[in-house]
């Protein structure tokens, strides 16, 4: 699948605080482990099943034979181990155990830089580990509940018709019943044999083929019902309202001369919280602690210094993004203070962003603000002082 071309935006978890725009806020979860090693969101692999995770590791490591040169991955450990419920009926749970299991994400990154990478030393190796989970999340908004309710009703109708027809097949098809009886007789005759495995008879395969044929016929017969469900489910998005609180953290390690001798490259802890309202308004807060040892910076005498830098950011954001609306607007302010004396001075960042969705993977956006270093930024293009963003690939 081709990846989207989009610029990562106002993401409180980004170390560089780049002033760019994310195309779809709901789809790419922040990745603390990857962000500590400056991976772009498009470079992070996010397998949702074990087979994809295996394929991802295999590709990155050359068939488990080498350390990857550049690799970042996010995965949900509880989902991979099938611990907990992850379907939409339970994604609205407010129990902390369920919320934690469903939102916990582990992120891992590796970098084996070459001479073209200016941010890292090519003689060293880098790894990172991060985590993210939610302490609280909002409830489904009214539209999400209504859509799920409609999908559920359609599924109940389909399943009722489907199950009735399949039971009729299973209890009346003569060939299917003959195979079943032959299987029972065979198993009872051989069950006492040492090493006998009831799954090694040919009957289950034969019965599966018959059942599959019946299924295919039924799916055609009930095709209109499936289409109706598909139509409703294809544009489904979970939107939440209410209070939320997310915690994330991570640490990056630097392996000197690619040996086990390692030191901390950087580390960070994030706390995001806020409240979303049905009207589309949202108010958010951020606390972030970053540790960057041996960080180079320019002091107030404009001299280049190196020191262990610890910064603490606090900020707030107000946004308007009504579900279903093509327009969204946000304004944020972040104050940064240095916990290590004699390093950088406190500073602040202000950003205003407006976007208008003009189609699939296409947006017009306007960004204006002041970065931490005092740079005034206004993103624009040749058309009219606006940015035109588009993605390549499928609709996902």
């Amino acid at each position: 699948m081709l990846s989207f071309l989009y610029i990562v935006s106002i993401d409180f978890a980004q170390q560089k605080d780049s002033m760019s725009t994310q195309l779809d806020l709901l789809r790419a979860p922040s990745s603390p482990g990857a962000s500590l090693l400056n991976f772009a969101a498009t470079d992070i692999e996010r397998p949702s099943e074990v087979s994809s995770l295996m394929l991802s590791f295999s590709n990155a490591t050359g068939g488990f034979t080498k350390i990857p040169s550049s690799y970042a991955i996010d995965f949900s450990p509880f989902w991979l181990l099938r611990k907990g419920s992850f379907t939409t009926d339970m994604l609205n749970s407010t129990k902390f155990k369920e919320v934690f299991r469903q939102t916990a994400v582990i992120s891992i990154g590796f970098r084996n830089p070459d001479s073209t990478d200016n941010n890292f030393k090519k003689e060293n190796l880098y790894s990172s580990f991060g985590f993210k989970f939610s302490l609280a999340r909002g409830d489904y908004d009214a539209k999400t509940k209504e859509t799920l309710n409609s999908i559920g009703q359609m599924q109940v109708k389909f399943l009722g018709d489907y199950h009735e027809e399949m039971e009729n097949f299973r209890t009346t098809d003569t060939l299917y019943l003959r195979y079943k009886e032959q299987k029972r007789a065979y198993i009872k005759a051989h069950a006492a044999e040492q090493g006998f495995n009831p799954d090694n008879t040919p009957y289950d395969t034969l019965m599966s083929k018959l059942q599959a044929h019946a299924m295919d016929s039924l799916k055609i017969k009930l095709g209109q019902q499936l289409k109706a469900i598909q139509k409703l489910a294809s544009g489904f998005k979970i939107n939440r309202v209410g209070f939320f609180c997310d915690v994330a953290g991570g640490i990056g390690l630097e392996y000197i001369n690619k040996t086990i001798n390692s030191s901390v490259y950087n580390a960070g802890i994030w706390l995001n919280f806020g409240n979303n309202y049905e009207s589309g308004f949202g108010f958010y807060g951020l606390f972030r602690y970053l540790y960057q040892p041996k960080k180079s910076f320019t002091d107030d005498k404009l001299l280049l210094q190196t020191s262990d830098l610890q910064t603490f950011d606090a900020g707030g954001k107000a946004a308007f993004n009504q579900p279903g609306s093509d327009f969204c607007f946000s304004a944020e302010a972040i104050y940064r203070s240095a916990l290590t004396s004699g390093t950088v001075k406190p500073t602040y960042k202000l950003l205003v962003n407006a976007e208008y969705d003009i189609g699939v993977n296409k947006k017009l956006s306007f960004t204006f603000g002041r970065d931490f270093d005092g740079t005034i930024t206004r993103s624009s293009n040749l058309i009219a002082g606006l940015n035109f963003l588009t993605g390549f690939g499928n609709n996902r």
Partner: protein, 142 residues
């Protein structure tokens, strides 16, 4: 690393195996009164489902009907009553997740001769498409 290399390699097979939307199996039961239970796990994350399970054959009984999502461990019946009966499970999983088209149904049976897990899975073409799963497990007393 969290998992061993053998764990990784065993799951590489899933990458080249075709979808498995239907499955027939056999579950051995004993001449005991211990209950056989069934648990259903539906995935992937963000999908929406309904599932019905019914006993047919010597015993006719609805075990669960039109249940959304995963189903916690549910009693099917004592071992010694299940011979010549079949547990038929049908499920529809709509790919409502915007992050993945992967749909699966795990059927976990416990209490018989040994615990067994049956896995059905399908990756649909696009968000919104439906995966329909049918699983029939014959109980045979040995």
């Amino acid at each position: 690393m969290f998992f061993s290399e053998s764990f990784f390699r065993s799951h590489l097979k899933c990458m080249i195996m075709p979808d498995v939307p239907t499955l027939n199996g056999t579950y051995l039961v004993l001449a005991t009164t211990v209950d056989v239970t069934v648990e259903i796990k539906i995935g992937g994350p963000g999908q929406t489902s309904r599932t019905t399970g019914e006993l047919s054959g010597s015993i006719k009984k609805v075990i669960f009907k039109d249940i959304p999502g995963s189903i916690s461990e549910t009693i099917v019946g004592p071992n010694n009553t299940l011979d010549n009966s079949t547990l038929d499970i049908d499920s529809i999983v709509a790919a409502t997740s915007s992050a993945s088209n992967y749909c699966e149904m795990l059927v976990l049976l416990k209490g018989g001769k040994e615990d067994k897990t049956y896995t059905l899975y399908q990756t649909v073409a696009a968000q919104g498409d439906n995966a329909v799963f049918s699983c029939s497990i014959d109980f045979v007393q040995v």
